[in-house]
Symmetry: C2
Amino acid sequence: MERVKCTLQYDGTLFHGFQRQPNKRTVQGELEKVLKVIHKGQSISIAASGRTDAGVHARGQVIHFDSDLGIPERGWLHALNTQLPDDIRVRSVEKVTEAFHARYSVIEKEYHYFVLNCQEADVFKRHYSYHFPYELNMEKIEEACRYLEGTHDFTTFSSTKSTVKGSKVRTIYEASVKKEASEIEFIFRGSGFLYNMVRIMVSVLLDIGQGRRQPEDIQYLLERNDRKLVGKTIDAHGLHLWNVIYKEME
Amino acid sequence: MERVKCTLQYDGTLFHGFQRQPNKRTVQGELEKVLKVIHKGQSISIAASGRTDAGVHARGQVIHFDSDLGIPERGWLHALNTQLPDDIRVRSVEKVTEAFHARYSVIEKEYHYFVLNCQEADVFKRHYSYHFPYELNMEKIEEACRYLEGTHDFTTFSSTKSTVKGSKVRTIYEASVKKEASEIEFIFRGSGFLYNMVRIMVSVLLDIGQGRRQPEDIQYLLERNDRKLVGKTIDAHGLHLWNVIYKEME
């Protein structure tokens, strides 16, 4: 038995999210369907760094599975990409030891969220960037990002549907924003993210950019641990799982 | 009666090309459907700078139509974008005189063709860039571009299905190529382009980049006026109608 780690990208537009669901097209479902064919009818389960919702994209999702076929790394890359639909691509394959687990060995995840900040929408970005036509004060948003960084209880910034039991304390190593022409890119790197956490943070940051809240409100919101204090969860399609970092394996 | 000029973009992926066809989803069909609603059931025909094939995208297609509704420019922009599907966007609207015609007043058109030149495909570019995994000599391609520029009979580089009667002489003002990371962008500006002309030129340029032909072969190919001398027409989805330039109106 060998453990195979794959880094993959997918366009979330036409998937009902990552997780397998009966009669729905999901990323996990497509991957396991192909693995079953390669294993001549034997079901193979995959584990991922985490799920992504419907519409969310991935540039660097990581999964693993176990196989006794003994296929070399380049062979896996070819076998998978030949049979997968064209909105999922395996970018690299690596054989790892059983000490590696796509979910439990994660030490850092990175998400980017794109906002198109101009009057008219752009057809080429409609599935990848959230269109927001109102003026934004970027300095206020940058200032607010400073309050998100660090170790906090993020209950206010997570869905009440979150299934996480226990602590909602997470550490954000980086919360930053840059703007190039009309495209705004939010970058979040952290030890982990709660359900909908990035999308709620971006929603609050846009409120701050519009002057509907002040940057220092973040501190108050973090302390209150109450999801009802903040507005809606922003649309999924601007969100991209960018990268997953793992413990160094010896 | 007023003549209204619109500059629009569309994602060609889900259209059976630009031109209206019965029972098929086309860009012209969608535009005329919306114009009919705005004109309370009256059919309005549009004229475009030219057609585009299925899968071809537009960043700056230009159309015109005549209307007696007297709607101001910003009103047209809003009315159209509110009702058009999200893969067509009107970027600007301008009232023009009857001397303007979207097709006959064109003095220059610009097309870009994108090639993704690396081993693995990229899901986010799969509809917008042609994936070509083989090594290319960019200097040879640049050299070949020089031979395409200027005034020539482009019969060899046009589809035999071309419906153009008369001269196939066209002037190319610019044929150039640039590469950034693994993305190659071809740029063609000319007085006009024959049917499939850009896609056949790119196909020959890739042959040259692979060493299957020499840059100076272009001259010979142009002189022979024979479509059968060159290979296949490259895929539509890498092609983008970039910009259309018109005579200055007094």
